[in-house]
């Protein structure tokens, strides 16, 4: 009984927003059942809670609760040197640390007006696209895992990811926490042997995408589960600031690789796939198609990579103090627009350091996508957003 009392005490403590009327009215006079999915739920990708109000199995209201994994990333970064934040960015979206490094390096380079040598740019593209590939593959794996596919697609994705992570380890010394990029280049150079092995791995990736396609794309159960589920209208997506494959699945042509052409992306020949329905299936297919485009970019980059230094001679490792000013560096991370906003007051550490995490901002439309759907689809829609809690909570 005491348990019941403490529970009601918690209910009384809920913020005002929770007591707002349900967005959807229940059918008949049935009461709403409140279910807390998470924080320790098998399908929340970490510690994340969704307070769901159900009418039968229909979702009437959904409140995402996060912050369980808050690590004070931004404040820590403001308290130490620019370089010392680089390893922390690995831990934001720990599935794709390279792109986090890249976005941060891009912001600092903008702030300091630092040039990056050619070869380093190529290496960044190669690693970034490898990261995108393995992120999309494992994200589809997680999605099907949530559909109850016993982890078979996930295991296939991890089989390929293993090969890519081996490349990362060989080059950077770590599989996930790479800490690879520096302001003005990359930390170490890739050996010819590494490039050769990368070419070999990239040659095998197309076969893997084909395998995935045969296994999943035409599967009737997958189509029945995902088509028409969790529709996100283009207008809402744009207004909510959704980016990445999710936005493109809603039919909006917005890829920062094309828009900004940061780094050397405007040298590569690739297409941006767009979906027309904005449902879970479109998000899945957009990721599949982007993986194929990534392979194309990788092949071009590996063919054209020039020789030369990987660090700009003007780059400073110690005593790095950019001039006063502010800068916003953004890239097309696998999950969406990842940006770092920095203000420098001329000191050794940033005055203000802010991350624009795609996972968090893409998650804001979760309730809009989930209203009225079956509770089983909440998990699916949540999975299709493709988030990493490390980035959401920071």
């Amino acid at each position: 009984m005491s348990e019941m009392q403490s529970h009601s005490a918690i209910l009384a403590d809920k913020p005002e927003s929770w007591n707002r009327p349900a967005v959807m009215e229940p059918e008949g006079e049935g009461e709403l059942m409140e279910v807390a999915m998470g924080p320790h739920h098998p399908s929340t990708h970490g510690v994340f809670r969704m307070d769901v109000a159900l009418d039968g199995e229909r979702v009437m209201r959904l409140r995402p609760v996060f912050g369980y994994l808050h690590r004070n990333h931004e404040k820590i970064a403001e308290g130490q040197s620019y370089l010392a934040s680089m390893p922390y960015t690995d831990r934001l979206d720990y599935i794709c640390p390279i792109t986090n490094n890249w976005a941060y390096a891009l912001a600092v380079e903008k702030l300091a007006g630092q040039e990056v040598p050619e070869r380093a740019e190529y290496l960044r593209v190669i690693l970034g696209e490898l990261t995108r590939f393995q992120n999309h593959a494992s994200s589809i794996g997680f999605l099907t895992q949530e559909m109850g596919a016993m982890g078979t697609p996930l295991m296939y994705a991890f089989r390929e990811r293993e090969k890519i992570l081996d490349l990362f380890e060989e080059l950077t010394g770590a599989r996930m926490m790479v800490n690879y990029m520096r302001f003005g280049g990359c930390r170490v150079d890739a050996s010819p042997g590494w490039l050769e092995r990368t070419r070999k791995v990239v040659a095998g990736l197309a076969g893997f995408v084909d395998e995935f396609d045969r296994l999943l794309s035409t599967n009737e159960i997958l189509m029945a589960r995902t088509q028409g589920v969790g529709v996100l209208k283009a207008e809402l997506a744009v207004n909510a600031g959704v980016t990445g494959p999710m936005l493109r699945a809603s039919g909006v042509n917005y890829d920062i690789r094309k828009v900004d052409g940061y780094g050397i992306y405007n040298r590569f020949n690739f297409r941006v796939p767009l979906g027309d329905h904005g449902d879970v299936y479109d998000r899945y297919m957009i990721r599949m198609l982007e993986m194929r485009e990534s392979i194309g970019i990788l092949q071009q980059a590996l063919r054209e990579i020039p020789a030369g230094p990987v660090m700009s001679p003007t780059a400073k490792l110690r005593g790095f103090r950019p001039k006063r000013g502010e800068a916003y560096g953004r890239i097309e991370a696998p999950k969406g627009e990842l940006g770092f906003y920095l203000i420098s007051n001329g000191g050794p550490n940033p005055y203000r350091y802010r991350v624009r995490p795609p996972s968090l901002i893409n998650l804001t439309v979760l309730e809009d996508m989930c209203l009225g759907v079956n509770v089983a689809d909440v998990v699916l829609i949540f999975g299709s957003v493709d988030i990493v809690l490390g980035e959401v909570d920071r």
Partner: protein, 195 residues
């Protein structure tokens, strides 16, 4: 449309089922305690301190400049500078760390200490089986535990260590030449005085 997608998927899994018995490409599992993958040369786990020669205390390259302590992102390094000086490998009088502790339960293996060290004194180890039954003392390594010989460094990172040795040798040669020149100049000056 009528179940052939499902059948195609089942064919795919059947291919993987049989493939896993024949193709090493598919079955990538390594049975860890019995089989091990040799670490890559670039692999990094936790830092250690390099010493030259055979005596760890005398040969330690670290001069307690405390740059790594300052640059360490999670602040897991603690250094206490010595009061006295003693000669380093180059024969120059230097401070040495009276205490050098790394809390490897805090360390995040980022390698920034290695990058910022001007004396090539701290390097990354590849040893990863570090579990201990003591949460506090067991993971707080002092300078005795951190000190590893240059031979060991050569063993785990051969190419990198060769580069470091060459650089150090060049520096030493330069320093020697400098001392020689100054010594010669001195002797010349003395000789000149004498003359």
């Amino acid at each position: 449309m009528l179940g052939e997608g499902i059948l195609k998927g089942m064919a795919e899994t059947a291919k993987n089922f049989f493939g896993s018995y024949f193709s090493a490409e598919r079955l990538t599992t390594v049975e860890y305690p019995e089989q091990r993958i040799a670490p890559y040369e670039a692999a990094r786990v936790f830092p250690f301190l390099v010493f030259d020669g055979s005596d760890w205390e005398a040969g330690m390259r670290c001069v307690a400049c405390q740059i790594c302590e300052k640059e360490c992102p999670p602040k897991c390094i603690f250094i206490e500078k010595s009061k006295d000086k003693k000669p380093d490998a180059l024969g120059k009088q230097q401070f040495y760390p009276a205490r050098f502790d790394i809390d490897i339960s805090v360390c995040m293996s980022c390698q920034i200490c290695v990058e910022v060290c001007p004396f090539e004194a701290i390097k990354m180890d590849t040893e990863y089986e570090l579990s201990t039954d003591n949460r506090f003392g067991g993971l707080l390594l002092d300078r005795r535990q951190l000190a590893k010989s240059n031979q060991y460094y050569h063993q785990i990172h051969p190419a990198e260590a060769d580069g470091v040795d060459a650089r150090l040798a060049a520096e030493k040669a330069k320093a020697d030449a400098k001392t020689k020149i100054t010594a010669e100049a001195k002797t010349a000056a003395i000789a000149g005085e004498g003359a």
